[in-house]
Amino acid sequence: MPDTRLIPLSALQHYAFCPRQCALIHNEQAWSENWLTAQGQQLHQRVDYGLPESRKGIRYERGVEVSAPTLGLTGKLDLVEVEITTGACFPVEYKRGKPKQDHIDLIQLCAQALCLEEMLGLDVPHGAIWYWQTHHRHQVELTPELRQETFNIINSTRELLNSSQTPKAKYEKKCQACSLYDLCNPKLTFRDASRAYVKAIYQENTDEETAK
């Protein structure tokens, strides 16, 4: 059997946030909690541990594992709502925060839908994201544009992770919110001062000699 590496769904989101973060977590196996990630975990524990239940013709399945070899993805879905009569699937992703300007959350949801489509061979035209901070559920249409954007991110993520390289850091405002800040140390590699530092060790030597 060929050894294909499946990329976790979560990697897509990490990649969209910061490619270096993605490489650190998924290739270098770095992980560090901060209060943001801890809160997210707590939320997901609540979501994931619910038992399957059926109400009004819909079965609610939580913590659904998926893998899609063609897409090269694997992961776990917070909630899938299945229409019992038709079998139609509707993925729901739980987010700690509130709706964001960028498409990161939408892309993750779209990738989940793509996995369901590949596994079940049916169309998943819609999904939803539930935001804890606003307590609102947003219906999302999985448009061809969003799908294309998602494919692009999947490809870039796969390329990055298969390269085994960790991109250099680029210090930005969002770095402050990253739980890997200390491990990544973005200011450190943004401007690599190591050569000058090592040179100065010897320099000090000659300075002291001439000072005598």
Binding site: Q165, Y197, I201, Y202
Partner: protein, 339 residues
Amino acid sequence: MKKLQNSLYITRQGAYLHKERETLVIEVEKEKAMQVPIHAIQAIYCFGNVMVSPFLMGFCGENGVHLAFFTEYGRFLGRLQGKQTGNVLLRQAQYKTAELKPELISRNIIAAKLTNSRSVLYRHLRNYAENKSVNQAIIQINSALGRLQKAIQLDSIRGIEGEAAAFYFGVFDELILPSVGEGFEFNTRSRRPPLDRVNALLSFLYSVVGNDISAALQGVGLDPQMGFLHQTRPGRDSLAQDILEEFRAWLVDRLVLSLINRKQIKANDFVIEASGAVKLKDDARKTVLVALQNRKQETVKHPFLNEDVPIGLLPHVQALLLARHLRGDLAEYPPFVPR
């Protein structure tokens, strides 16, 4: 940065350590001697006959609490390792560098070692009288440093290190104040076993600090056994020994000198065996460890990071910098050379 928490040094013979809910309980003769929240502890070092419950061990492994065992005399016995942490790419880079080009990292480490040894000598001159032989040793170390900068072969790097160490330890006796009195004469560096009191102190602390470094290296996913400067030898933490070179003079030697010069440790704090081997007594070992622990709580400005860092976290910082160098983030490994 990682949080610096307390290291616990258990030197009471017959002590039993176990976990009670979220606390660590130390029992001596079936009596609770101490109870502390487990999460406030970073490392537990057990000396001699100290027992640890498997549940506490499990907790340590899970939470990256470093648990290590030493003999009563401070010789390292073993450590508990939790689940293997995962950065296989980092370890691969480490092995490749160790095999193909260990010279650059080795040279940087030795540059730090030489500079830091020289600082100990400078410090003595600044604080006490001018001393001709100490001055001479500084000049010799300077010249070694000049040659080191041009050294390309590992053998010549090791050779320069040996020379500089000889100059440094050649005048180490001068750094012990005459007021200290008898018993602390230092002739030459002796190990396994140490043959005088000064060497006994040095060896004991090198071993404790080396073990801290080993834990820090593992903490960032490096293999402490695969070194650059020190050859791979089964049972030796060669990489930890490499990084220890940066800390010997600045951390250990200075601590040993101040313990002796401030008379915190006295000549009768040692046992001299029939073979001539010199060992620290129990109580004195405690004094030394308390002094080390206090030192670890102090902060210094890290010369490369330009950040205040507790001394106890320096091994972790250097391990992180080494990892980042090996993974290609930094062109060179910046060793610890405090200004």
